[in-house]
Amino acid sequence: MEEIRVPIRSDADTVVARQKGRAAAVAIGLSRTDATFVATAISEIARNITSHAGSGEIVIRRVTQGGHDGLVVVAHDEGPGIPDVAAVLRHEYASDAGLGIGLWGAQRLMDAVEVLSEPGRGTTVTMTKWCRFDDVGTLLGQRGA
């Protein structure tokens, strides 16, 4: 799978990003449910970009680690940044516009979420979803490969 880059400038780009994320998830063998998890998480972090930073980019690519396939989604912006990442991840201040709830939801939907933020410099969110060994989709994916 080729790396997919989606510039995020408006809420229409968010729709594009989550559709591409879903397609990529299915392509590497994630189950339909997991692909929906990925699409939902992308929707949330893309909204964080448009509503807090104005614009940014989402990069979607396949990773392989120890024979396991996974999907990595990186969302990057050069916006104001998050003053207290840990508090946001604990869902302590869920701003109504969704910064808190979005990252919190992404954490619940993905296998790993890492947030790097520097006030005034921007934010990078890296999320990973691994293919499960016991999924039919994964089995069929391996078969076809």
């Binding site: 449910t33 499960r132 060994f133 016991d134 039919v136 089995l139 391996q142 078969r143």
Partner: protein, 300 residues
């Protein structure tokens, strides 16, 4: 020579051999096709390999593998052989052919062919060494290909059977219109719980169910992961317009759930399956005067 296909293989480096020698080798194997096949088949039968297959079946498979084998030697491309090996594995695994038999059969072919090369070139030691140098790495590579194809296919079948067994162990039963029962038997782990959720939701959609009774009398214990999966399944059912009633919650499990602080506000629990079905019937007969599952004030 198709170098492209060889390039990805770890053994590929050693297959860089004189094409003329390889041609000579392939010509010999083609010329002696009939006696070599027969010898191979005889050795297979002698060693009681592939005992579940008839001699005719063995000979026909042997022929196909032999030809694919020689083709692979000639072209350096193992793809066709790999495909055939997978296909063969798919056919013989259900009949109980074991991994050691397949490896034995492949190694026998390697021996049979090596012996015939010895015989043919015994008067010219230099040429024999050169031919064997060309033959060995290619033969090893082919043996590995067939063996690995078989093992991969076997693993795939085993995983698929595991899935099938799980599916069988969680039937979705339609009691009557709009009412489903899921009797869960055996230990639940996160992966089975995930699958159960999927079956539950598909069952709701296919049967247009409004109430589902999940009976966990047959579940020995529950950990926090599984408990959260159950809660999630109940929530998701509610979003699709179906209520869930849990029955058969043992005192142990009930206590575990409370201790784990699993959010149980979404769960309606009734002592046993019979009581659960009665409650479900009651809800269905009132369903016309009652509204959806997600609103706290819907019982008006």
């Amino acid at each position: 020579m198709q170098k492209v296909a060889v390039a990805q293989d770890p053994l590929a480096a050693s297959t860089d051999v004189d094409p003329a020698l390889l041609r000579e080798l392939v010509a010999h194997l083609r010329q002696d096709r009939t006696p070599l096949r027969e010898e191979w088949t005889r050795r297979i039968t002698d060693e009681r390999l592939l005992s579940v297959m008839t001699p005719e079946e063995i000979f026909s498979e042997v022929t196909a593998v032999y030809d694919n084998y020689v083709d692979a030697l000639e072209t350096g491309s193992i793809e066709a052989l790999e495909r055939y090996a997978r296909n063969l594995s798919e056919r013989i695994i259900p009949r109980g052919v074991e991994t050691h038999e397949v490896l034995g059969v492949v190694l026998l072919l390697r021996d049979v062919l090596a012996r015939s090369l010895f015989q043919k070139y015994q008067d010219d030691r230099v040429l024999m060494n050169q031919v064997l140098d060309a033959y060995e790495p290619a033969a090893n590579r082919i043996a590995v290909t067939v063996g690995v194809s078989f093992v991969q296919e076997r693993e795939r079948v085993i995983r698929q059977q595991q899935l099938a067994i799980r599916e069988l162990s969680t039937p979705v039963l339609k009691v009557r219109d709009q009412l489903l029962i899921l009797p869960i038997i055996g230990a639940l782990d996160a992966s089975r719980a995930r699958q159960l959720t999927e079956q539950l939701l598909n069952g709701i959609r296919e049967n247009r169910a409004k109430v589902v009774v999940i009976d966990i009398t047959g579940v020995p214990g529950i950990d926090v992961d599984v408990a959260n999966h159950l809660v999630q399944a109940v929530r998701a059912s509610g979003l699709m317009g179906a209520r869930v009633i849990i029955t058969g919650l043992s005192a142990d499990i009930a206590q575990t759930l409370v201790n784990l602080r699993v959010d149980l506000t979404m769960m309606q629990s009734v002592g046993d399956l019979q009581g659960g079905i009665e409650e479900a019937e009651r809800q269905l007969s009132y369903a016309v005067t009652r509204s959806g599952a997600t609103s706290p004030d819907s019982r008006a």
